[in-house]
Symmetry: C2
Subunit: 343 residues, 2 copies
């Protein structure tokens, strides 16, 4: 049986091309039916063209009409309020109504989060939904970092909920047995950190999870933890700093490798190795960031997503939906809320 996923056709920087090609890829490789949400008049001919080019006649792709789209630079709250027929809103409504199992967009992150919170609402027991980054590590296993969606000035209780949600996601979707959960701080000892982490530490310690204690920035990439929890301001800075450094490394490497003919020949011989290397670090392989804590499945991809990234986002949405993570989070939240008995 196919899983129904709604895809915001107008999300990415180069929309709708990557979305249409990503939907085609997804339908060929995964057990999904994709609902392309956007202006039908634009999408219909482009989809036909891409299908024709790929020599395909039938694929489980439907087009769902939405007349508006939210731009990357639009202010989230304003866009959500004023555009009642945006592709994001229409797609997320389909999730709420049960017409699809999940929604994926590569659009404006702030708008996606705001729309999801408004249309789907939060799971019971969750004060603030969190955006999750799935990052590569040196062990080959991913690291789950949350919140990266900018829940700023978090309370200790928020971090506690992020820990529960992140752990459940790592366990159910990424199939990591007994995920190791760390609290992002600036030193390993319990006393190290700021007011927030020092207050959150005992809350995380008493959760029924495999709590490592404090971890540091470098632990995001070295595989020492499966799940790392932090305030959204910190997570956002860590993520964007990483993006900036990755770009600097890429540009410097390219420049060095094209500086002399010998280096160029060397680079040519190592081409496959470079592609492996890139693939290992490429976020498009990870397929976007799940939004945890809303009543439904919502995946937010990077604005620069290509067709492969879109396909992987659809895959993540399908896996998220199938794993029944939300029901489990709800259950864990109730458990976490129950006061610990002394008997």
């Amino acid at each position: 049986m196919l899983i129904d996923i709604a895809l915001d056709a107008m999300g990415s920087d180069k929309a709708p091309e990557p979305e249409i090609r990503g939907a085609i890829l997804a339908c060929r490789q995964l057990e999904v039916r994709v609902h392309l949400v956007g202006p039908e008049r634009t999408l219909r001919p482009l989809l036909a063209k891409q299908m024709h080019r790929a020599g395909l006649r039938h694929l489980p792709i439907k087009i769902v009409q939405a007349s508006e789209c939210i731009g990357m630079d639009e202010k989230a709250v304003q866009a959500v309020r004023s555009k009642r027929d945006s592709s994001m809103r229409v797609g997320l409504k389909m999730v709420r109504e049960g017409a699809v199992a999940g929604f994926m967009t590569a659009g404006n992150t702030g708008a996606a989060m705001a729309t999801a919170k408004m249309v789907l609402g939060a799971l019971p027991g969750v004060d603030r939904p969190a955006l999750v980054a799935i990052l590569p590590t040196s062990t080959g296993k991913p690291c789950v970092l949350l919140d990266v969606g900018a829940n700023v000035d978090c309370k200790p209780k928020n971090l506690e909920q992020f820990a529960v949600m992140g752990e459940m996601y790592a366990r159910s979707v990424l199939k990591i047995g007994r995920p190791r959960v760390g609290l992002l701080s600036i030193g390993e000892e319990e006393s190290k950190g700021n007011d927030l982490t020092r207050e959150a530490f005992p809350l995380l310690k008493q959760l029924p999870i495999n709590f490592l204690g404090n971890v540091e920035g470098r632990d995001i990439y070295n595989g020492n933890a499966d799940v790392i929890v932090c305030d959204g301001f910190i997570g956002n800075v860590a993520l964007k700093t990483s993006e900036g450094l990755a770009r600097l490394v890429r540009d410097s490497l390219r420049e060095s490798l094209t500086s002399t003919v010998t280096a160029q020949v060397g680079a040519l011989l190592s081409r496959k190795a470079f592609n492996d290397f890139k693939k290992r670090l490429d976020h498009s392989e990870y397929g976007g960031a799940p939004l945890l804590g809303v009543r439904g499945v919502c995946i937010v991809g990077h604005g620069s997503s290509n067709d492969v990234a879109i396909m992987n986002g659809i895959r993540v949405a399908a896996e998220f939906a199938q794993a029944g993570v939300n029901a489990r989070i709800e259950q864990s939240m109730v458990v976490a809320d129950t006061p610990v008995s002394n008997y």
Copy 2:
């Protein structure tokens, strides 16, 4: 005339070897006299051996006796209190007494900061001294990030002072004309950020500096700003996240490039290009982190510093001292403290 610099001979992970070799390098390449601070009985024969090996007879290197050293894993406050004759304390006392123009250590960062604050004290008008990271960018110019020394739970006023100090450092030592100063946040608009950045924004805006407004994590490496100001918790996470990612990239690249014989040959041909690439991103080229806001010059290097990093640290200490940054910071602080008149 030679500039006198005290060097903690027992700081780095592999001390005192990198320190001794770094001091020799520095004395050969720079106009400095190095005072190696540590246990004389250990240092004397090692220095003689290294001098002999390099075929040298006379260099302006002195050994200054200090009987104790502070380990990397020691708790800063405790170590500073209990070890009255540590190499850090002896070296910093020389700065206070005017026997040397500056001090450099590759030891325990927390202990170095605590000792410097205790022995030297803060400059008038400075509430919290800040540790500065000098980072590479895609334009080739460095970016000054502060605080990375973990002044956690900063007040808006602290960020204001960091901005003044960082700007002055960029101008005086790095010779950047009219440095562009950014406030590290999660979006460019003034309204984006957390409580701290939103309150700090107007304070930075009214300073007589070239204030860019908010910048994001990726701007640390793309050359969009010369100076970036943040709370020490954030700066520390950003720095350690970068370290972790850089290591992951290095390891992945190495693994990919040794996976097949063709890739190995390619890597061999590109060896010079790789060395250029590494050098460009290598923190040892930047020579350690200046501590700004104390009465004196103190540079803290990475624990993994090699001889080149030590030499560069000594160079930075000498440049810092020569530029007269502290007198200028003191002056700016007084200006910044003067209330803005309405007339």
